[in-house]
Amino acid sequence: MLAAIGVDSPAELFEQIPEPLRLGRPLELPQGLSEAEVFERLAALADRNADAEREICFIGAGMYDHYVPAIVDAITQRSEFLTPYTPYQPEISQGGLQAMFEFQTAMSELTGLPVSGAGLYEGPSSVASAGYLAIGATGRRRFVVSRGVHPHSRETLTTYAQGYGAEVVEVDLADGVTEAESLVAAVDGETAAVFLQSPNFLGAVEDVEALGAAAKEHGALLVVACDPMTLGILKPPGEGGADIALGEGQPLGNRLDFGGPSFGFFCATEEHIRRMPGRIAGETDDVDGRRGFVLALQTREQHIRREKATNNICTAQALNALAAMIHLAWLGRQGFRELGELLVQRTAYAREQLTAVEGVEALHEAPVVREFAVRLDAPVDRVLERCAERGIAAGYPLARDYPEHEDGLLIAITERRSREQIDELAAALGAAISAERVAVG
């Protein structure tokens, strides 16, 4: 090969790099290992994590320990889905493109909005992208955000806002839900978008329609973040007047993976179709009239529109969206609904059992689907520590994100959390709290 190129050594090819910029030493990294050794190394690291197989996991806060059916792995691990890139050549990418089209249809059904993209990075950055869209759509630069929106989403929105330039105003919660009056007060003619989440971060189901009125009134977009697993039960945001419905897709077919990769879904009204961020698959025909799929509306995208693109996203999370589609097909119309009902019933049971425990009380009484918040009459971190010793991850402490709820604990339920495990949690919490009280008093 060197001869064909006309050099004596590969090193010659690197001479185009000015000598002083050549590293001239080996990287300070260990030498390569055999596959067996790498496996042992990584297995040893994994072994030092208390995953949901080792602890009974009641942590949620946006990502949930659902059971991912085996066919999801079987299909997504097929090299034909795993190894290609973005379908720039549709003729040899029909599999991926059709899967995107099926996914868009499913998310559109879930959210009750006609337009769905093929998927974004994940939840919070999708919220920030909605902000960017809202500015483009309204020409306004003010966001009104309920504090029921996931703290990570609010923080990400604020980070992005420093860039594209927008003001972020937060609205408080009362009894677990967004304070209607404060919201009305906060929204004005300068407001580009109102951001709600339902169920909100404290698990409470918001009355999107009622709260959204303020946005409508001032011509601001209503952006609703939601947990897709609750959409078999809850009125779809689209029916509640949302212009944009989006959220974290992990509960659908994606494992926890310590936070990623998952995907963000993003749905909107027809009106915004040409402002959508990211890839969208569309149906069309080939020259022989055969049905096919392509990347539609590419004129929105960075590779065509460059600085005028509706978003900068390129590589997204196609495989994770495929996983979601397979999971949804596996659940099916009835199963999806039943799973939602299962979550509501087990969560109601858990809420009842836990708040019956001495030293535990409801943080709010609002209706919930699969997650709820309680107050502990003992230091939350100490209680969590004690539960962990019993092999239970009891929940998500609210202190960091909601200083006013220093004593707050957020508890999530999935179909993997059995009644027995819920009872175990109740016992563990009870024991931990009384132990702590003894300790202090």
């Binding site: 090969m1 950055s125 990400t156 590589t315």
Partner: protein, 498 residues
């Protein structure tokens, strides 16, 4: 490939069918509307498909056969580094200790995951020659946005506000798109006859309104910009930052480091240089490495290692206490599953292996470039800038189009019939009818030769009958698709009736 007519999963749906069996609730149940007010409830479940498991498996198996993939053949998609994806990485990512670890788990009980992230940060810092790393960005363009927000914060911290970001006309579309999203104005810089930055044009455009220069080096022509040191000097003189688009890092791993070139901020596409499978368009990850002066502004939280007092080992933790941080770019800690794969990849190759990978990538590119300089290709598809390339090179189909009436797109489509994924086409923009070819280090000489032979054959065929290429492809599941229609009258979801 599978040629039957496309049928969607919804079209296979039959009321009452299902795959999932769900557990019993196993708790005393209450009527739904006692638990949630009726007006907040959904009337009809979403019209998801109703299909039994065997049909779901068959459906997606058949769909998969309508995809071309890297494990089937040569995929020289320029700028995307379609290198082999070791299956070991999938195996270790799937270990329950990784796959079922909740992102909000107490750091004390996620030490393995945090240590892995810390080790990956250290590895990337060494490879990039910049001391600090944040793994948060979800992909390259997310890293670009992060870099620009860091630049903004860096300047704001010194009481400055700047408006302009420079980027060469060869830059990738995400660069200008990120610039706008970050609230800056893009200023395009010309390219010189060597394929590098046109220095006079650069000088002319530099002033103290310049916040940043975004560069890819080697750039999207696959050429290393020899003036990089001088360029860095000019930008730093006016107090701007230098951003390195790391999409082409695969050319220089262990040979040259962005930090040593004078860059302040680098993004790394783990789904390119570090073998994360591309998944049909993600997932990926775009960690950033930065210099000391940028460090205070890095996203929150940051993975840190705290030396353990009195003999106890070090403790890995998430540091939220970063007053100058630009804040979060996303939820939780980033695409951890991608980190596991990329760290496994780095462990597998090691110091010499990474350098060797880049060396072979460059060798393969130059060999294929040499093959493309022969015969008809040499004549019809001249190289845009004729020098040794790094890991990729760009040809122009201009004369082919003029003389044979066969456009780069036609050539690309005809390649499909030969069982190859085409190169990246019509990018970079400054090359007419561009063909951007990146073979990567994991291809054999045989596949490079087979590709060159196919191009030769297609050109020969085109000389006698250009229509063959212009009507291509013929053997794919569908033939050329009407993309205009898909944009004019977009049909982006299935219409369902019930």
């Amino acid at each position: 490939m599978q040629r039957e007519r496309a049928v969607t999963i919804y079209e296979k749906s039959k009321p009452g069918r299902r795959a999932a069996a769900l557990p019993e609730a196993g708790v005393p149940e209450k009527p739904l509307d006692e638990l949630i007010p009726a007006h907040l409830l959904r009337d009809e479940p979403p019209r998801l498909p109703e299909v039994a498991e065997p049909e779901i498996v068959r459906h997606y198996n058949r769909l998969s056969r309508r995809n071309f993939d890297l494990d089937t053949g040569f995929y020289p998609l320029g700028s995307c580094t379609m290198k082999h994806n070791p299956r070991l990485n999938e195996r270790v990512a799937a270990l329950p200790g990784h796959a079922r670890l909740h992102p909000a788990q107490d750091p004390k009980r996620a030490q393995g995951a945090l240590e892995l992230m810390w080790l990956l940060q250290r590895s990337l810092a060494e490879i990039c020659g910049l001391p600090h790393v944040s793994l948060q960005p979800s992909a390259g363009s997310h890293g670009e946005l992060a870099g620009l927000l860091l630049t903004r914060a860096f300047h704001a911290d010194r009481g400055e506000t700047r408006t302009k970001v420079l980027a060469p006309d060869t830059s990738h579309g995400t660069n200008p798109a990120s610039v706008t999203m970050a609230g800056y104005e893009v200023v395009k810089v010309a390219t010189n006859e060597r394929g590098g930055v046109e220095m006079d044009d650069l000088r002319a455009k530099i002033d103290d309104e310049v916040a940043c220069l975004m560069l890819t080096n080697p750039n999207t022509l696959g050429l290393f910009d020899e003036n990089i040191a001088e360029i860095a000097g000019l930008i730093h003189e006016v107090g701007g930052t230098l951003y390195y688009d790391g999409a082409n890092l695969n050319a220089v791993m262990g040979h040259s480091r962005p930090g040593d070139m004078g860059f302040d901020i680098v993004h790394v596409n783990l789904h390119k240089s570090f073998s994360q499978p591309h998944g049909g368009g993600g997932p990926g990850a775009g960690p950033i490495a930065v210099s000391d002066r940028i460090e205070p502004f890095l996203p929150r939280p940051q993975v840190v290692r705290r030396e353990g007092g009195n003999g106890s080992g070090p403790l890995y933790d998430l540091d939220y206490d970063r007053p100058k941080s630009i804040g979060r770019l996303r939820g939780f800690q980033g695409n951890f599953g991608v980190f596991v794969r990329s760290y496994a990849y780095i462990l597998s190759l090691g110091a010499d292996g990474l350098a060797e990978a880049s060396e072979t990538a460059v060798l393969n590119a130059n060999y294929l470039k040499a093959r493309m300089a022969e015969g008809r290709a040499g004549e019809r598809l001249p190289i845009a800038f004729d020098r040794h390339c790094m890991h990729e090179f760009v040809l122009s189909g201009k004369s082919m189009k003029k003389e044979l009436g066969v456009a780069t797109l036609d050539l690309a489509k005809r390649l499909l019939d030969f069982g190859f994924h085409p190169p990246t086409v019509y990018f970079p923009l400054l090359v007419d009818e561009a063909l951007m070819i990146e073979p990567t280090e994991t291809e054999t000489k045989e596949s490079l030769d087979a590709f060159a032979d196919a191009i030769e054959e297609i050109l020969a065929e085109a000389e006698t009958d250009p229509e063959i290429a212009k009507q291509a492809p013929y053997t794919t599941p569908v033939r050329r698709l009407d993309e205009v229609k898909a944009t004019r009258r977009p049909v982006i979801r299935q219409t369902l009736v019930d």
